[in-house]
C-alpha cells in the first residue's frame, strides 16, 4: 500500500468499512464477539444506548490511536500497548459518565469498566488497526461499535417492552391499557438468559435473510 495514494474521505471502500459490520460482518451476530456485555446491559433501552455509544467511541478512538502509531509499536509488546490505549479510553469514558450521566453510570456500574475486556475492541485493533491507516481504522471502529450497538438496541427494545412494559422508560403498555386484559409483564425477559435467546433469535433471522452467512 503506497502512502502517497490519495483516497476520498468517504470513498466507497471506506463507507463499506462502516456498513459491513452493521450486517454481514456484525460483531455480535456474525463474529459472535462481545456477547457478555450484550446480555448484561440490555434490560432497559437507555443504558443499552449509552453502552452502545461508549463502545462506539472507545473502539473508534482506540482504533485511530493504534493505527496512527502502528509503525512505532514494537511487535513484542503490541498487545500490552493495545490494552493500555483501550483502558485509558475506557477510564476516561467512565469518568465522564460519572460526572455528566450519573444515573446511567450507576446502572451500567461495572460494565463500563468491562468494555476493556470486550473482545470487539482487541479484535478490531489486532485485525484492522495494526495494518491500516488511521482514517479507515477510525471508520472501522465506528462501524463495529455501531454494529454492536444495533444489536444491543434491538435486544433491549424487546426486553424492555416485554419485561417492563415500557419503551425508553415510557410506559407504552400501560398507556395502551393492555394490563386491563390481565396481561402481565414477563419477568423472565429481565433475566440474562432471555437476552441470550433473543440474540440467538436475531442470529437465526439474520441468517435466514442472508444466505451467504450460513456455513457450508
Amino acid at each position: 500500500m503506497s502512502t502517497n495514494e490519495k483516497e476520498p474521505i468517504f470513498s466507497a471502500r471506506n463507507l463499506k468499512l462502516f456498513t459491513a459490520p452493521l450486517s454481514s460482518e456484525n460483531p455480535i451476530t456474525v463474529q459472535v464477539l462481545g456477547i457478555c456485555s450484550a446480555l448484561a446491559v440490555t434490560v432497559k433501552m437507555k443504558p443499552a444506548i449509552v453502552m452502545a455509544l461508549s463502545v462506539m467511541i472507545v473502539t473508534a478512538i482506540s482504533n485511530l490511536v493504534i493505527a496512527a502509531m502502528r509503525e512505532y509499536i514494537p511487535d513484542r509488546i503490541r498487545i500490552i500497548v493495545q490494552l493500555v490505549v483501550i483502558a485509558t479510553m475506557v477510564i476516561i469514558v467512565d469518568q465522564l459518565l460519572k460526572a455528566y450521566a450519573f444515573d446511567v453510570s450507576k446502572q451500567l456500574s461495572v460494565f463500563v469498566g468491562l468494555i476493556i475486556t470486550n473482545c470487539i475492541l482487541m479484535g478490531r485493533l489486532e485485525a484492522f488497526a495494526m495494518a491500516n491507516k488511521p482514517w479507515p481504522s477510525f471508520i472501522d471502529g465506528l462501524g463495529n461499535g455501531a454494529g454492536y450497538g444495533i444489536i444491543l438496541i434491538i435486544v433491549s427494545f424487546f426486553r424492555e417492552l416485554l419485561g417492563s412494559g415500557s419503551v425508553f422508560g415510557y410506559p407504552v403498555l400501560q398507556k395502551l391499557g393492555v394490563y386491563s386484559t390481565h396481561y402481565e409483564n414477563n419477568g423472565m425477559m429481565i433475566l440474562p438468559p432471555m437476552a441470550l435467546i433473543l440474540v440467538g433469535g436475531i442470529i437465526w433471522f439474520h441468517r435466514s435473510r442472508n444466505r451467504n452467512l450460513i456455513e457450508k
Binding site: 448484561a40 511487535d75 485509558t88 469518568q95 433475566l191
Partner: protein, 233 residues
C-alpha cells in the same frame, strides 16, 4: 515486521506510561468537582427516600432543604460532638476507628404530617461489595418509618433487589427494641419462623446479600443504642 531493539521497547513503554498517566490524572482532577456534586445529590436523594419522599436528581436539593432541617454528630455514648458537619461524616470511614472515637451522624426531618423522624446512615457488606442506605425512625426511637438501601454491584435480579420498593416497604412499622432490649430487624428466609415486629422476608437467591443487610442494620443501629434509649419519647 520491523525489528525493534530492547532499548527502544523500554523507552517506548516508559514514554507511553508517562503520557497515559498524565492524561488520566488530568481527567480525574478536572471531573472531580462535578462527580462529588453528583454523590452529594445522590446522598440527599437517598435520605429523602428513607423518609418516604420520592425525589429525583433535579429536585433533591430543594426537597432536602425543605424537609431535613437539622443534623447532629454524636459519639458512641450518645453525647453530642460539636464542630463536625454531619453531612460529611462517612459511616464507612468511622467504622474503621475504635468505637470510642467514632463520630455518628443523625439527621432530623419533619414530614408533611408533622411527624418528627430521625435518619441514620447504614453501611455494610453485601456479596460482591458494599451495601449502604438510610433508616428513619419515628420519635419513639423504635418504630421504623422508612428505609432505603443501595448497593455497589450485587447480582441483578437477586441481591440487587434490596433497593426495590417491594423489599424496602417491608421494613415500615418494624421495631428495633423489644422491652427496652436492642434486637434490630432480622432478614429471614422462608424456612425460618418470623419474629413479630422484628423480621422481614429475605430475597430468594440473595441470601448472602440479605444476611449482610441484616448484619448492617444490627451493627449500625447498635452504635446509636445509647442515644436512642436516652431520647425515646
Amino acid at each position: 515486521m520491523k525489528h525493534f531493539t530492547n532499548r527502544y521497547i523500554f523507552i517506548f513503554s516508559a514514554v507511553m506510561v508517562i503520557i497515559v498517566a498524565t492524561i488520566l490524572s488530568m481527567a480525574a482532577t478536572l471531573l472531580k468537582p462535578q462527580q462529588e456534586k453528583n454523590l452529594e445529590v445522590e446522598k440527599k436523594k437517598s435520605m429523602l427516600e428513607s423518609i418516604n419522599i420520592p425525589a429525583d436528581r433535579n429536585n433533591a436539593e430543594g426537597l432536602y432543604s425543605k424537609y431535613i432541617k437539622e443534623s447532629r454528630v454524636i459519639d458512641s455514648k450518645g453525647e453530642e460532638k460539636k464542630g463536625i458537619d454531619a453531612f460529611t461524616v462517612e459511616m464507612k470511614v468511622e467504622q474503621k476507628k475504635a468505637p470510642a472515637d467514632q463520630s455518628l451522624a443523625i439527621f432530623f426531618a419533619t414530614t408533611d404530617d408533622g411527624e418528627k423522624v430521625i435518619i441514620l446512615p447504614l453501611e455494610g457488606k453485601g456479596l460482591w461489595g458494599p451495601i449502604y442506605g438510610f433508616i428513619s425512625l419515628k420519635s419513639d426511637m423504635n418504630t421504623v418509618f422508612g428505609v432505603t438501601f443501595d448497593h455497589k454491584g450485587e447480582t441483578p435480579g437477586l441481591g440487587a433487589e434490596i433497593n426495590t420498593t417491594a423489599f424496602e416497604s417491608q421494613f415500615k412499622g418494624q421495631k428495633i427494641f423489644e422491652d427496652g432490649r436492642f434486637v434490630s430487624v432480622k432478614v429471614l428466609k422462608s424456612n425460618e419462623k418470623p419474629i413479630e415486629n422484628h423480621s422481614v422476608d429475605a430475597i430468594s437467591g440473595g441470601t448472602i446479600t440479605s444476611k449482610g443487610l441484616e448484619k448492617m442494620l444490627f451493627d449500625c443501629l447498635l452504635k446509636y443504642e445509647d442515644y436512642l434509649k436516652k431520647n425515646a419519647k
